[in-house]
Amino acid sequence: MVKTVSQGQTRSSIQTPGQDNLSRPTSGQVGQRRRTPPRPSLSLLAAVKKHPVIAVLALILSVLAVFTLFPSEKKKVKKQFEALSRVVSKEPGENVFTTARKAKEIVPLFDENCELIMPADSVSGYFSRGEITSYAIRGRTQFSDLSLTFVDLSITFPDRGTAKVVLTAKLKGKGVNGDKVDETREVKSTLKKIERKWLFVAFEVVEVLKK
C-alpha cells in the first residue's frame, strides 16, 4: 500500500512487483510522446534561471576569453611598448645570459630603419635596426639598474597599417659610477604593421620645456 506520493509522480506510474512496465498508454501519455523535445534555448533559459550566479560567471569568463584570445589592435600596440620596456630595463646584478637574451629580443621590435628625433641632444636621422640595437646594448651597460616605463599612452590609427602613439616615458636608474638618473620625457612614436606585427618606425622626443 502506497500512502505517500513523491512529487511529480502519479499513482499510475508507480510499479508494484510483477507489474508489466509496458502498460497501455493513456491518452495523455500518447500526447506526450508525440510532443517535440524542448528547444535548447528554452532549456538554457531555464538553466540561467536556475543558476544565475554560474550563468553570470560563465558570461564574464567568455567575454574575458574573447578579449584574451582576440586582442584589439590597441592592445597589440601597447604590448609592443611593454616588450620594449621589458628588454631595456635592467635588474641589479643581471647575468650575461639575460643580457644576451634581451639584446636578441630588441631586434624584432624595430623596423629595418627607424627615425629618431631628439632635439635636446641634437639627434635626428634614420638608424638601422642593428644600430639601434647596438645603441641600446651600449646604453644598458652604462647602468647597474635601469627601468623604462611608458605611461599615458594615447593611441590613434591614422590609417590601416599605422599607429601613432603619444606617451610619457620614464627612465629611472643608477649608473655604474653611482650617479642616479631620473628622466621623464614626452615621446611621439609611430608603428607600422608589417607582416601582422606592429614594429617601431619612429621616435620623437617632444620638447615640452624649450630653453
Partner: protein, 166 residues
Amino acid sequence: MTSKNRLRQFFFPSITPKFLLRVVGVALSAYLVFSYVLIPIHIQGSSMEPTYHNGSINFCWTLSPLFSKPRRHDVVTVHLAGHSVMLLKRIIALEGERIEFRDGKLLVDGNKIDEPYVRYPCDWNLPPRQVEQGSVYVVGDNRNMPIEDHLFGQTSINRIVGVPLW
C-alpha cells in the same frame, strides 16, 4: 531610534535602493573631483626645493587657469602626454618678455626681478631670449645645481594644468 541603533545603522546600514544610489553618487563625485578638479600629486625630485619638498603630497587645483591668467611667480603644473606625470615649476616670464640669467640673477626685459623663493646660491648665466606668444617661461626654485641639469624653459600656456592647492 536609540543612539545605539543609530550608530549601528550608521556603520552597518541596510542595503536599500536609496542607500545604493547614495553610494554610487558619492563614488562618482569622488572620481570626478579627484580625477579632474583636485588631482592628487606626489612630488618627486628636488627642483622646487625649498618651497616644495621631495616626497610631499599636494593637490593640483585645475580650475585656477579658468579664473585667472598665468602671472609671474605663480607655481604651476605642466602636463606631458597625460596627467600621470606632470612638471611642477614657477612662471618667471610671460609671453613676449625677454628673459635672461646673469650671475644667478633673473632679468626680465633688462630689469632685475626679486625672487624671495630662491634661497640657495645660484650662479647661472643664460643669454637673453624672447618668450614666444602663447607661452610662459618656467623654472624651478632650486637653482643650486648646474644649469644643464635643471629642466626649465618655455612652454605653451595650454600645457598648464593648474596650481598646487597649498
